[in-house]
């Protein structure tokens, strides 16, 4: 799985080679050059000039290498509106040689090629449009300080036939701020340098060049065939230029559009098969334009924000997928409250404002996070695999990402992971431990430098995952809590005393026994009370039905029960008396027993009185008066017994 692609965007070896070639030549050019090679940037300019010379010399020498192809028409449109430069070259290539040709070569000067972020060729055969594969190659016998790209044609180009190709190449860091330091009030001026002629290994019959500019033009290379119309600067048309023609063109113009550069972006996509995809994006954003000098004055910025601080940017807009929810925007010291979120069924738009306006050279960091519904991004693939389909790039508008890292965190237990991207990336694997993981979650790490909005294409991650493993973590929790309870139960039921003969241990045991006995006694007394209640209820029955016999039977039964209970109580009492530790409770219990005895007597007496009265058929009032005194005593006794019971129960 360790597919490390050679990053074609930084052809280091070739760069070194070029320097070797240049060395002898630079001596000859030195006298012509007005630049002194101290500053790095002017060094670049210097190289460019040297490069022009070399190109001209070499171009003349080796132009016959593949001369059967001719570019019959080349129209270039250079869009300089943003800090990402987009060059659209519309080519018509004609085969003038006798043989069929299956590939077309593109050439880019190395100075430009090192800033190239992406190159893409569009081809249309009338109905359908294609994107043709465009690969860097190193052909033999060609000038070596030029980077070549080969376009594989869909079908061979016969003799005399032409083909139309649209080549979109995207360059970053091609706009150099000049001056390099500006104050808050000034606007930002940048310089763009290019070849006036289309750099091609083939002769070009007809060509033109158009710069689309965002605003005022400070200066530009004067040339007979040039016109400035509104915001467009047009060079050409030029006819019949040989291969590798070169003439520098420099445009110096005002560009206050945000030069937002993400020095690093870490995008973590975490998949949960419970139905969620969580995306966390950590940005380090800086302003790539002319740096600010003389400090920042809030009063000027607030009074006239568009004039005083035109070069800065305050707002970034992120286009998130539809149905994004739980969006947050924060940095390492907390939430950033200046953001707005809109959404409809097509997309979600997040407008974020960093804590402070970003001026040239300033930097800030923040994190955006959001969640997405899983079923929008995860699909079933062939062979029982699942496929995650997500966009690769950064959701912020017109931001250049210098170092882009995408981490896809797959659920624990995923296997057979493969990744498919439309452009080469550096891939590696990692493991992340999160929420109760044991094995860890496999992480696919994709790295790519110089990512532009055009890289915002879908990529796919294929993997195998068994749904059963979803349950492992809940099961683990359940088992864990179950074991905890088991441990508690075991702890409560085991005797952890070290010495079984120590006096305190024995005392404790005895005390437990006493407690158990007291509990038992209490139960017996509760039963006593129940029997009392039964007697009372039998009296009530009597008053209703007048059934004297059943009432008597109830009394007999109660009497028997009382005796039984008394028998039961006796051994317990003797045990308590023998125990030294029970001495504090014993008087209370004894009191309870006597009270209960008294109560029983009273109850029986009352019962007999009532029954007698019934047998004598006395009136209700009469009975009441007879038992009134007994009743009163009974009530107070009962209350005392109950309160005693309560106080005992608290031991």
């Amino acid at each position: 799985m360790d597919l490390i692609w050679a990053d074609f965007l930084i052809p280091r070896e070739r760069e070194r080679e070029r320097e070797r070639v240049l060395e002898p030549v630079s001596l000859s050019v030195d006298s012509n050059s007005t630049f002194t090679p101290i500053d790095h940037r002017s060094d670049g300019m210097d190289r460019r000039l040297q490069f022009a010379f070399v190109l001209l010399c070499l171009g003349l020498l080796s132009s016959t290498a593949r001369s059967d192809l001719v570019v019959s028409k080349a129209e270039r449109l250079v869009d300089l509106n943003s800090h990402i430069v987009r060059v659209l070259s519309k080519l018509k290539v004609e085969n003038e040689g006798p043989d069929d040709v299956s590939e077309v070569l593109l050439a880019l000067p190395d100075a430009q090629a090192k800033n190239l972020a992406a190159i893409r060729t569009f081809y249309s055969d009338g109905k359908l449009g294609f994107v043709l594969p465009t690969e860097p190659i190193e052909p033999k016998g060609m000038p070596s300080d030029v980077t070549y790209y080969s376009i594989a044609l869909p079908k061979k180009l016969g003799k005399g036939k032409t083909v139309s190709l649209d080549v979109l190449s995207i360059f970053t860091r091609s706009l150099k701020p000049f001056p390099e330091e500006i104050t808050q009030a000034e606007s930002q001026l940048v310089v763009y340098t290019d070849n006036m002629y289309y750099t091609s290994p083939y002769p070009v019959k007809y060509q033109s060049l158009v710069f689309r500019l965002p605003g005022r033009v400070e200066s530009y290379t004067k040339y007979p065939k040039v016109e400035l119309v509104k915001s467009e600067l047009r060079y050409g048309p030029f006819e019949m230029q040989p291969a590798f023609s070169y003439s520098p063109v420099v445009v110096h113009f005002e560009n206050n559009n945000p030069f937002a550069v993400a020095n690093e972006l870490v995008r973590e996509i975490e998949i949960s098969h419970w139905g969620n995809v969580r995306v966390t994006e950590q940005y380090t954003i800086s302003h790539g334009g002319a740096s600010l000098k003389n400090g920042f004055s809030r009063i000027e910025y607030q009074a006239r924000p568009y004039m005083r601080g035109a070069s800065s940017f305050r707002i970034l807009i992120a286009k998130l997928p539809a149905r994004a929810h739980s969006v947050y925007y924060r940095d390492e010291i907390g939430n950033i409250s200046t953001s707005h979120l809109w959404g409809d069924s097509q997309r979600t738009q997040l407008e974020i404002e960093p804590r402070f306006p970003i001026f040239g050279g300033w930097k800030t960091t923040f994190t955006i996070g959001y969640s997405l519904p899983l079923h929008d991004f995860l699909f079933e693939a062939d062979g029982g695999k699942r496929v995650l389909n997500m966009t690769f790039g950064c959701p912020l508008d017109e931001v250049l990402v210098e170092k882009h890292i995408v981490k896809v965190v797959l659920p624990e237990g995923s296997k057979d992971i493969t990744v498919a991207t439309l452009f080469p990336t550096k891939q590696s694997e990692d493991v992340k431990y999160s929420h109760l993981d044991i094995l860890g979650r496999p992480v696919v790490v994709l790295e790519k430098d110089n990512v532009v909005p055009e890289h915002n294409l879908y990529f796919q991650v294929y993997y195998k995952f068994n749904n059963i493993s979803l349950l492992s973590e809940p099961m683990m929790l359940i088992v864990g809590i179950f074991l905890l309870f088991v441990a508690c139960i075991v702890y409560m039921h085991t005797d952890l005393a070290i010495s079984k003969t120590s006096s305190s241990y024995l005392e404790k045991l005895q005390w437990e026994e006493v407690q158990a006995t007291v509990q038992h006694i209490k139960n017996i007394f509760d039963q006593y009370l129940a029997v009392h209640d039964k007697l009372e209820s039998s009296l009530r029955d009597l008053s209703r039905s007048g059934d004297v016999q059943s009432c008597k039977a109830a009394r007999k039964a109660a009497d028997a029960q009382f005796k039984e209970l008394a028998k039961e109580l006796k051994p317990l009492l003797t045990f308590l008396q023998s125990c030294s530790q029970a001495s504090s409770i014993l008087p209370k219990i004894e009191e309870l027993v006597t009270k209960e005895k008294e109560m029983q007597e009273k109850e029986m007496a009352k019962h007999t009185t009532v029954v007698d009265c019934f047998e004598k058929k006395l009136g209700g009032k009469d009975i009441e008066s007879r038992i009134a005194s007994q009743q009163q005593k009974l009530t107070s006794l009962k209350q005392e017994v109950e309160s005693l019971l309560d106080s005992i129960s608290e031991i």
Binding site: N294, G295, F296, S297, R298, I299, Q302, A303, D331, I333, G334, N335, I336, S337, T338, R355, F356, W362, K363, T364, T365, Y433, S434, H435, L436, D437, Q519, K522, N523, D526, Q527, A530, D533, K534, E536, S537, L539, R540, D541, L542, S543, R544, K588, V610, G620, K621, I623, E624, I627, Q631, T635, K638, Q639, E640, S643, D646, S647, S649, E650, I651
Partner: protein, 788 residues
């Protein structure tokens, strides 16, 4: 059948009571935790205020570098160029607690950030504190009072103010430690168990780790021991409760680097040693009394007394001499200001300048403990009926904490648990009395209807009017007694819930009392119960309001409600984020000490002074710089390697606690060390003002200039919304400083020290060079610049 049921129900009642109180305690914990989350819900999960940022930073360091690096951490980001040894100057309890919690979560692969753990430490520990309160009050007055006190403590505003989510300060764990230590002390006192005594020392150790307030414990417990001895309550339990605490506790306390030998060398701890000696003498006396006959004992007493007094006098004399030889009499400044409330304002302006060190006002008592203030006296009365060792401790705790809270607003926090315990006791006793009398009346009523029943023979059953009886008659005759039993059980359960306290007392005294209860009329008790519930309801409402409105603001984010909705002022973090990302890592930032911790934690830049005000001279240096004219200030700052100066300015939006309002303290503190700064120079007729009548010195000092630089351009007049007048000097230029950043609402302004100008040879050339506008600038510069 009936018997088995009865047996089952009584054991079930026990189990039910236990489960219910566990459940109630769990709910109390939930309340304590969730009432503190208002700050997270209304604002965000963020660390609050000033000190918590330092603790947060230390915790981050601990979690990243481990415990050994933490002990040896020399922090070079603060007190530049002195630095600070963090490991030896910080109370590590809080940090270690949060660090351990974080580590535990991470070892279970729960990805919590250190910040999250820190934010939620305080609410978690307030739940623990509520449970500790339950235990303590249960030891004092039984479980009923315990549960009531725990419920009250869970939401007492005074404690909430220091333990909302995000308030990651020492007090967050210290209050729990305090209460728990007291609980273990009382538990030891009640049981006489050496096991609890050991636990008590460990709890004390945790308290020493957590907060400087541990001296309260080590003075309060000896006071209580002394009280017990004096009132003739000496027992072996008291000895076991105290002696191990002093020995083990002092040994353990000395292990904490920040305390070290202070545990035996400062006056705060002397009281405990004195009582330690006394308790041994008393123990000896009791022992001798046991083995001697009364007559012999009398002889021995007189003998020992004469010798003893002589020895004591010598020891005391030595002690006094030792103590008197130290300049502060062995007491730290903060403790001294506790004993003498006027001490700080007289001698230590740094302590006096902190608002939380001021004495509280009456409204703040009402705000912070609300109705508890009225319940406390009742609680004290209840503690005296009857007075036990435990309840005397509760009373003593209350009395001392009331005194301390009167000295410093901050110590209201210590009063809060005491007030809660007292109120819990009061409420629970009141409920006990009232429900008991209600129950008495109701049972009497039932008994009456029971006895009347047989009398009404032959009459229709419907005349038996009470509802339970109706039920009874309707049901099947054989089940009747059971139903009655059930009723009784239910009633008893009810009673048990309400009256756990009363019954808890196994002591014969209370049992006897119960037999002849103090019975109030039924109506009166119903009304009283109702009123008590209303009182409790009001308290809860107040607490929720206080938690939601008064104490939830994190103070680094400010909000204001205006007619067009909520407005957020996030200027502090804006400035700190700017400093963090757009200055060099080693740049030094000077600001008043209030913002030191935040600058190091949020901006990660080196500061000159911070909230750990250990070096008065250093703070005075910054104060002097702020109150000096520009050039002198530049020299001071330059000598300190300062690159940026940060001032907080509230004049534009009306934020009152800005640097101009604190400025007089800077002058005072600066003047205390550097006498050329005189407070009188900044006052016009004894009044502090920055308008047109302000003194020349005031209008030319650095703080004024940095605060109001180009302020007049905002509205053309320079109207200061905090001071509510136009500023004195409106148009001026800065010569030695340049503005590099001002936040959106101007609340934080950052200036950079201008570099020294290149030396220009020859005065004539200089005058030619200088244009009209810059001549005054560079002229001033070259004339006064000491490096020229």
């Amino acid at each position: 059948m009936a018997t088995s049921k009865v047996e089952g129900s009584s054991s079930l009642r026990h189990a039910f009571g236990g489960v219910l109180s566990v459940f109630i305690l769990f709910l109390i914990g939930v309340v304590a935790f969730s009432i503190r989350l208002f700050s997270v819900i209304k604002y965000e999960s963020v660390i609050h205020e000033f000190d918590p940022y330092f603790n947060y930073r230390v915790t981050q360091f601990l979690s990243k570098n481990g415990i050994y690096d933490f002990w040896n951490w020399f922090d070079d980001r603060t007190w530049y160029p002195l630095g600070r040894v963090i490991g030896g100057t910080v109370y590590p309890g809080l940090t270690l607690t949060a660090g351990t919690m974080w580590k535990l979560a991470n070892s279970l692969n729960i990805p919590l950030s250190v910040e999250t753990v820190c934010v939620f430490t305080a609410p978690i520990f307030s739940a623990f504190a509520a449970w500790a309160t339950y235990l303590l009050t249960k030891e004092v007055k039984g479980p009923g009072a315990g549960i009531t006190a725990a419920a009250i403590l869970a939401m007492v505003p005074s404690y909430i103010s220091r333990s909302v989510a995000g308030s990651y300060d020492n007090e967050a764990v210290a209050i729990f430690a305090l209460i728990f230590t007291f609980y273990l002390y009382i538990k030891t006192l009640n049981t006489g168990s050496l096991f609890y005594a050991t636990l008590n020392s460990l709890a004390y150790f945790y308290m020493v780790c957590s907060w400087g307030g541990y001296t309260f414990i080590i003075n309060l417990i000896p006071m209580h021991v002394l009280l017990c001895i004096v009132t003739g309550r000496y027992s072996s339990r008291l000895y076991i409760a105290y002696a191990p605490l002093v020995v083990l506790g002092t040994l353990l306390a000395a292990l904490v680097p920040v305390v070290g030998f202070n545990a035996v060398m400062t006056s705060e701890h002397f009281g405990s040693f004195l009582v330690f000696i006394i308790i041994h003498v008393v123990a000896l006396v009791y022992y001798i009394k046991g083995i001697l006959t009364p007559r012999l004992f009398k002889v021995a007493t007189t003998l020992v007394l004469t010798v003893g007094i002589a020895v004591c006098a010598v020891v005391v004399a030595i002690l006094v001499a030792l103590v008197a030889s130290s300049p502060t009499k062995g007491w730290s400044g903060r403790s001294l200001s506790l004993l003498d409330p006027t001490y700080a304002s007289k001698y230590i302006p740094i302590i006096a300048s902190v608002s939380e060190h001021q004495p509280p006002t009456w409204p703040s008592y009402f705000m912070d403990i609300n109705v508890l203030a009225f319940l406390v006296p009742a609680g004290i009365v209840a503690c005296f009926l009857p007075l036990s060792d435990a309840s005397s401790f509760a009373v003593l705790y209350l009395v001392t904490s009331v005194y301390f809270s009167g000295v410093m607003v901050r110590l209201m926090l210590v009063l809060a648990p005491a007030a809660c315990i007292m109120s819990g006791i009061a409420l629970s006793e009141a409920f006990g009395v009232l429900t008991r009398s209600m129950k008495f009346h109701i049972t009497k009523y039932f008994e009456c209807s029971h006895t009347e029943a047989p009398a009404k023979l032959g009459e229709s059953t419907s005349t038996e009017s009470s509802a339970p009886l109706e039920n009874m008659t309707k049901s099947d005759t054989t089940e009747k007694p059971e139903v009655a039993r059930k009723e009784k059980v239910a009633r008893r359960k009810q009673k048990k819930e309400k009256e756990l306290t009363e019954n808890a007392h196994v002591k014969p005294v209370s049992a006897k009392k119960e037999r002849r209860p103090l019975v109030l009329p039924l109506e009166a008790s119903i009304v009283s119960v109702f009123l008590l519930i209303v009182l409790g309801g009001l308290y809860v409402l107040h607490c929720v309001w206080a938690a939601a409105e008064a104490y939830s603001a994190p103070s680094i984010v400010l909000t204001s409600h205006s007619h067009d909705g909520l407005h957020v002022f996030d200027d502090f973090r804006e400035a700190y984020a700017w400093l963090r990302h757009n200055t060099e890592v080693d740049d030094k930032v000077a600001s008043w000490w209030d913002y030191g911790y935040q600058t190091t934690a949020m901006a990660n830049r080196t500061v000159i002074v911070d909230n750990n005000t250990w070096n008065n001279t250093h703070i005075a240096t910054v104060g002097t710089a702020m109150s000096s004219p520009e050039k002198a200030a530049w020299e001071i700052f330059n000598s300190l390697d300062v690159k940026y100066v940060l001032v907080v300015f509230g004049g534009l939006v009306g934020y009152p606690s800005d640097d101009i309002n604190k400025f007089l303290w800077m002058v005072r503190i600066g003047g205390g060390v550097f006498p050329h700064i005189k407070e009188a120079d900044y006052l016009k007729d004894g009044q502090y003002r920055v308008d047109a009548q302000a003194t020349h010195t005031m209008l030319n000092c650095l703080m004024y200039k940095l605060s109001y630089y180009r302020f007049v351009e905002t509205d053309g007049k320079g109207f200061d919304r905090v001071r509510r007048y136009e500023i004195g000097k409106k148009h001026f230029k800065l010569t030695h400083f340049e503005e590099v950043f001002t936040t959106h609402h101007w609340m934080v302004r950052i200036y950079k020290l201008k570099p020294q100008k290149n030396r220009i040879r020859g005065k004539s050339r200089k005058s030619k060079l200088g244009s009209k506008s810059t001549s005054s600038k560079s002229g001033g510069m070259t004339h006064k610049n000491p490096w020229n």
